[in-house]
């Protein structure tokens, strides 16, 4: 006979049990899946309905970027695409909460945040087409280049935030000046050593970082249950800073919670962990086939929580917009689609000799010799072609 030992705390089944699929009682929500505004004791949405209309537009356009890019990959124009379908609210809500002076460290799926930071989505396609590795200037919109290595950027984010502390742009009381960093990552990355070490460093130095984790439930085929036996946001307490679980499909709540977390960071109160509880409606990337490892009924369940549909319902139900508004957004999405389709095919191919150019700031003699040799090799084909004529 064995007895279950409960001396060590609550039964994990209770903590992580039936409420799990809906995010549990701790979930911060300000707009229900049905499009009803609800109050929360700790967080409130303080912008007007114009802002909500703006969020709607942002989310529709972001989804269009995703849809177009997925189609371009299917047509062979992109090598791969990392879909964000279903994560629009988490990205637009958090992205719109940023102050201009804040800095973002993204993963490779932050297309909505890139949109908020005015990165031309065509630049994203350059990366996924394989003609460059993300050609935007990170200093233009304080939006870093996409990180491919899972979780590595969280340590970079903490170091950057420590730099902000040294620069004296934390806790000045001037909202135009106080800055912070947002580190984006996913549920899979939460198992990486780098991410856990970044939590320790951020806590130790009280660094102005918002750790924004989009828990989309799946790390390729590994489910969240494989990464964690407790809700991810609860881990923050163990590292010594607050953790909040927000409805990642609720753009108002994502905005409000990120804004509050940034406020703490700006003031010099240190890091916050935000777990945006959402769902990866698409595949991990276009090379993945999720039907191999997950149930279609889960997908159906999450379709009912669609981040765009609930804002649509809110705007319509409250008579805040007319049909012309939706038609206008749709038309803008069409134009964006055309921009991406035409622009993608026109992206220039890189020059073969460029591979030697950025290995070091100052090219070594050995590399210069290699470049010269390769140039001669390429030139030999020119002669060959002429000879053939």
């Amino acid at each position: 006979m064995t007895e279950s030992n409960t001396d060590f705390g609550p039964d994990l089944g209770e903590v992580f049990g039936p409420s799990h699929a809906d995010g549990g009682p701790e979930l911060v929500q300000l707009l229900t899946p049905e499009g009803e505004r609800v109050e929360h004791p700790d967080f409130s949405f303080d912008l007007d309905d114009e802002a909500i209309k703006g969020f709607y537009r942002d989310m529709v356009l972001t989804r269009r970027i995703d849809t177009e890019a997925t189609a371009l990959q299917r047509h062979g124009e992109l090598g791969i695409w990392a879909q964000l379908l279903g994560q629009e609210a988490a990205q637009i809500g958090s992205g719109r909460a940023l102050a201009p002076q804040d800095f973002v460290f993204p993963t490779y799926r932050e297309h909505g945040v890139a949109w908020c930071r005015d990165v031309d989505p065509l630049r994203l396609l350059g990366l996924f087409r394989g003609v460059d590795q993300g050609g935007w200037d990170p200093n233009d919109g304080n939006f870093g280049l996409y990180t491919i290595v899972i979780g590595a950027q969280t340590l970079h984010a903490v170091g950057y935030a420590m730099g902000m502390q040294r620069d004296g742009v934390v806790g000045t009381g001037d909202p135009e000046r106080d800055a912070a960093v947002v580190a984006y990552f996913g549920d899979g990355a939460s198992s990486q050593g780098d991410v856990n070490e970044s939590f320790i460093f951020a806590a130790s130095y009280n660094a102005p970082v918002v750790f924004f984790c989009q828990n989309n439930q799946w790390a390729i085929s590994e489910p969240i249950e494989r990464q964690s036996r407790i809700p991810l946001y609860q881990r923050a307490l163990g590292f010594g800073f607050p953790g909040v679980r927000v409805d990642g499909n609720d753009v108002l709540a994502c905005y409000a919670v990120t804004k509050a977390a940034l406020q703490r960071a700006h003031e010099g109160s240190g890091p916050t962990f935000v777990e945006a509880y959402t769902y990866r409606m698409g595949a991990h990337t276009t090379t993945d086939d999720p039907t191999r490892y997950r149930l279609s009924e889960d997908l159906e369940h999450w379709k009912l929580k669609d981040p765009i549909a609930r804002v649509h319902a809110y705007l319509t139900r409250n008579g805040l917009v007319d049909e012309a508004f939706f038609a206008e957004v749709e038309e803008e999405a069409e134009r964006l689609g055309e921009h991406l389709r035409a622009g993608c095919k026109a992206l220039p191919e890189p020059d073969p000799l460029s591979i030697f150019d950025h290995v070091y700031v100052d090219q070594t003699p050995e590399l210069a010799a290699q470049k010269e040799g390769f140039a001669a090799y390429l030139a030999s084909f020119e002669g060959h072609k002429e000879g053939a004529r």
Partner: protein, 340 residues
């Protein structure tokens, strides 16, 4: 791709042959190991439900269950470290790391732990762990998923490093690695998974201590392994057209290196070209070249040539990536230079 005579696989009694791929051969080797030895289990990211990032373990979860085919959290250091512990406890873990680039997250476990525990315990502990990983470029996976770092691992005493380049070796090396009481790193070149070949139906384990002569020749020795074997063989075909008979070596084991087979070949041909997808500076090609010079200096009729990757991070765009990798015509040109 033509099938290759290995000289290393004992030819069994005629029981028929089977057409297979490098990927399927690796899978069959895993299946056999899981079936034959209940101490064996497979662990790594996406190895179960997904069937492995490169589909090597497809179907094994269904066949052997989640105890034997374990999906893990995304923690390379975690699952390599756990693999070391399981090996110490008497199991025979096979740990899969998606690519050699990701293995860097587990470098402390591999180098400071797996490779040293036998030494530091005065021989009381052994780590019979097999770590499989994909290496190499050619699939447009860019600079963080494409490197050939097996030469680094070959630098480390305490581990063995093997690189199957043929379907026979893909089928046969795993079992031999599992029988080894020390940690063995097995490098699968990413461009080889779809390579086809014919295997004896009852193909089994192979000796992993010896290099193999994949093609005999008298004029120049082309030393290769893994993904570069096939480029060396293609170069030998071209060279044969101009009357140069190249001998092609497949190192198979990168640590330990089979000096005897390399030296015997060079003493016959008097010339050598080392083909390595790793970088030239401080790389495996440098080691092989140095050994040839040390052991065969007075047999050489010319300097040892090397064909390696350009000394740049592996580029992303397809034409740039190919430009950075060793190619057949470069091997041909190098061989012609040393043959004179």
């Amino acid at each position: 791709m033509t099938t290759l005579s290995t000289g290393a696989t004992p030819v069994p009694a005629a029981t028929g042959t089977v057409e297979t791929t490098y990927r399927e051969a690796l899978r069959e080797a895993l299946r056999e190991a899981l079936r034959e030895d209940d101490r064996v289990f497979l662990m790594g990211e996406d190895v179960g439900m997904y069937g492995g990032c490169f589909a090597v373990s497809l179907g094994l979860l269904e066949e052997f269950g989640p105890e034997r085919v374990r999906d893990t959290p995304l923690s390379e250091s975690g699952f390599v470290g756990a693999g070391i512990g399981a090996a110490l406890a008497g199991l025979r873990p096979v740990v899969e790391i998606m690519t050699v680039n990701f293995s860097l997250l587990a470098l402390d476990q591999i180098l400071n732990n797996a490779a040293t525990l036998s030494h530091m315990s005065g021989g009381q502990l052994h780590v019979p762990l097999v770590i499989r990983m994909t290496t190499g470029a050619g699939r447009q996976l860019a600079a963080q998923h494409s490197h050939s770092l097996e030469g680094w691992y070959a630098h480390i005493p305490g581990i063995k490093v093997i690189a199957p380049a043929t379907v026979e070796d893909a089928r046969g090396m795993l079992w031999t690695a599992l029988e080894d009481p020390d940690p063995v790193l097995l490098f699968e070149h990413g461009t080889l998974y779809t390579m086809t070949g014919t295997l004896p139906r009852d193909a089994g384990h192979v000796d992993i201590t010896r290099a193999a002569v994949r093609r005999e020749g008298r004029d120049v020795t082309l030393v290769s392994y893994g993904g570069t074997l096939h480029k060396a063989l293609a170069a030998a075909d071209v060279l044969a057209g101009s009357g140069v008979a190249a001998e092609v070596l497949d190192l198979r084991s990168l640590r330990p290196l089979d000096d005897a087979t390399i030296a015997a070949s060079v003493r016959k041909t008097h010339r050598a070209v080392v083909v390595d997808e790793g970088w030239r500076s401080g790389g495996l090609s440098a080691e092989v070249s140095a050994r040839i010079t040390e052991q065969c200096f007075y047999d050489l009729d010319g300097p040892v040539e090397r064909v390696c990757s350009a000394e740049v991070p592996i580029p992303y765009a397809q034409h740039l990536e190919q430009a950075a990798l060793p190619q057949v015509d470069q091997v041909v040109a190098a061989a012609r230079r040393v043959v004179g």
